[in-house]
């Protein structure tokens, strides 16, 4: 009789320890955590708030500057890595659910939470391949040129008042400049690989950069104009006072500018529908086709760091930054929550919309988005001009408008939550029986 036995997988050394810990303790511990999920969640929030309070009152003012700098840089590096690790796992789960799959489920026993860690281990062990025809120094340099600027962008992003590595008058421009250098790393990778797929990816990235960069800057400029500062901390502080004080709702031009910025930022992160430089179905993997092992990981980290950075910019400039939408104290936790929401929307968009062609990207960005953002910029300037010595009629309109737009925003948010609730209530119908029955707790 023929029996099939799955050959036992042999893990050695460090990977064995990690896999054991992940499966065994993850398998016991995580269901236990889930049983008390709400308690754990509340405890985590309390711990985070306590941590924030501790840093704000003791660690930040009392440490000498070089110790503080060192601590903050290491912390930011860890933050970028955590964003990438959770982001990659989250992306795979989100894509799975959107496509009626489960996504990673095995590693770490609970919803595949250790999948990114396992992937990281695998990547470290992979052979480090460099094609014989590649331009070797540039090929080696490219991943660093992609990852390091993406990390540098975080040096100027404030997570709250005083929660920033360096205050600068031009921190907004600094972040944009760093995100622009990241593109050079991508183009360098594509060129140095000396493969047609990579070169196509790099050329598409170049085309895309010249199309999206100006609309992106112009839509941010409309917001900068109404605050009068390029300092991200000041931009965030200008919106203190809850939902209706957010810059997004201050005038109709800014409301539109948020969406144009978001579209352009999708292109800047190479996210669908603008993921042409990667274009898995056409270009194998685009600019990083020839990369393997850890260099490949660095491109991935750069992408997720960039995603969070552009979401953080949108949060600070349009969505009130670290201010609470419901009143109450502002906190870096609000900033994290809003940015994470925007990152999730990026994933949602990616797995919902099909990819468009490069000529369509350029057409959309240069022929439609650019004139539209110019119009928004001019409109916003005129709004500023009329708002300062305002005609009484205009003044009352300007005072009422944030409430109208804010209500529109509330409606949109309500629609989103209604959709999510509807989907959850009819989850059997939407996800399908098979996927549903395999979920834990079914």
């Amino acid at each position: 009789m023929l029996t099939f036995e799955r050959p036992p997988v042999e893990y050695k050394g460090l990977s064995r320890t990690i896999v054991r810990l992940a499966t065994k303790w993850g398998g016991i511990g995580i269901p236990l955590l889930l049983r008390f999920a709400w308690g754990v969640f509340l405890a985590a929030v309390v711990v985070l708030i306590a941590f924030v309070w501790l840093v704000q009152h003791f660690i930040n003012p009392l440490l000498p500057w070089f110790v503080r700098d060192f601590v903050v840089v290491v912390g930011l590096l860890a933050f970028v890595c955590i964003v990438a690790i959770i982001g990659i796992w989250g992306e795979r789960k989100v894509s799975g659910r959107i496509q009626s799959r489960l996504g990673p489920m095995r590693t770490g026993a609970w919803h595949g939470w250790a999948q990114s860690l396992a992937d990281g281990l695998k990547f470290v062990q992979k052979e480090d391949l460099i094609p014989a025809a590649a331009d070797k120094p540039l090929f080696r340099l490219a991943p660093y040129l992609a990852l390091v600027p993406a990390f540098c962008a975080y040096l100027a992003i404030p997570f709250g008042v005083g929660w920033v590595f360096r205050e600068a008058d031009v921190s907004l421009l600094f972040v944009l400049a760093m995100l622009a250098i990241e593109v050079l790393g991508v183009i360098m990778a594509g060129w140095a690989s000396n493969s047609k797929w990579s070169l196509y990816g790099a050329m598409r990235e170049g085309c895309q950069l010249v199309s999206y960069e100006i609309p992106m800057g112009l839509s941010l400029l409309a917001a900068v104009l109404s605050v009068g500062s390029l300092n991200l901390t000041e931009l965030g502080e200008a919106q203190a006072g809850g939902w209706f004080a957010w810059l997004l709702f201050q005038n109709p031009f800014l409301f539109a500018a948020f969406f144009t910025y978001y579209i352009a930022s999708l292109a800047s992160c190479k996210r669908a529908p603008f993921d042409l430089p990667e274009g898995e179905s056409e270009l194998v993997a685009g600019f990083h086709t020839e990369y393997s092992g850890f260099r490949f990981v660095m491109f991935f980290f750069a992408e997720y760091a960039g995603m969070f950075a552009v979401s953080a910019l949108a949060t600070i400039i349009f969505l009130g930054g670290w201010g609470s939408p419901i009143g109450g104290p502002s906190s870096p936790l609000w900033f994290l929550a809003k940015s994470t929401f925007l990152v999730w929307v990026q994933m949602w968009v990616r797995w919902t919309l099909p990819r468009i062609r490069i000529d369509q990207v350029m057409h959309a960005c240069i022929k439609y988005l650019l004139p539209f953002t110019l119009l928004l910029f001019i409109g916003s300037s005129f709004w500023q001009l009329y708002a300062s010595p305002a005609h009484p009629l205009f003044a009352s309109l300007a005072r009422l408008l944030p409430y109208g737009l804010g209500t529109l925003g509330l409606l949109l948010l309500g629609l989103y939550f209604f959709g999510a609730g509807y989907g959850y209530y009819y989850r059997n119908r939407l996800v399908g029986q098979m996927a549903r029955r395999h979920l834990p707790g079914a």
Binding site: D135, L138, A168, D169, V170, L173, F174, L176, A177, M178, A180, I181, V183, L184, I187, M188, G190, W191, N194, L199, Y200, A202, M203, R204, G206, C207, L209, V210, E213, L230, R357, I358, D359
Partner: protein, 176 residues
């Protein structure tokens, strides 16, 4: 002390990158050395407290111009790429021009009245804006006219050469 060290670091990087631009033969390598030099100069601007200028240097030159440069080079074939070696007569002319420029630069550096001063960070964005739209409004507008002319020229050169017959032309759009 620290400032001198950082200055030497960035200035040395700029000089090394500048020499490397001259010595490398591949255009793409040249472009990347150029980017290195521009970033080093931006670092010098940062050191002098001109944050706005430094950031603009990175944003415009590195993020815009250099990307276009590399992009343009990538469109040319790698096999057909010219090896950039000047001929003998060219080299003579170039040496003459370079010597004149060098002498002029050295003389102007020697004759400048250098005065040591402290670095004062300025609210540079606002000041640059005020002087551009106040004192230097004329030159500013002239430059924008120049850019417009350059753009028109580029559009004229890049126009479709032969008159094409309507819809057939659209199908020929290159899809990268």
């Amino acid at each position: 002390m620290l400032e001198t060290m950082i200055f030497v670091l960035f200035a040395g990087l700029a000089v090394v990158a500048g020499i490397a631009i001259l010595l490398s033969t591949s255009i793409v390598r040249m472009a990347y050395w150029l980017i290195t030099m521009l970033v080093a100069v931006a670092g010098l601007y940062f050191l002098m407290g001109a944050y706005f200028l430094g950031v603009m240097q990175i944003l415009v030159y590195v993020g815009g111009v250099a990307v276009l440069l590399v992009f343009g080079v990538m469109l040319t074939s790698r096999q057909l790429a010219p090896t950039l070696r000047p001929g003998r007569a060219e080299a003579l002319w170039l040496a003459a021009v370079a010597a004149v420029l060098l002498v002029g630069l050295v003389l102007s550096i020697l004759h400048a009245h250098w005065q040591p001063g402290t670095i004062v960070p300025a609210n540079s964005a606002a000041e640059i804006g005020h002087s551009l739209l106040g004192e230097f409004l004329g030159p500013f507008e002239l430059v924008s006219v120049l850019l417009l002319v350059a753009m028109l020229g580029a559009a004229y050169l890049a126009r479709p050469k032969a008159p094409t017959a309507g819809p057939q032309h659209i199908k020929e759009t290159t899809v990268l």
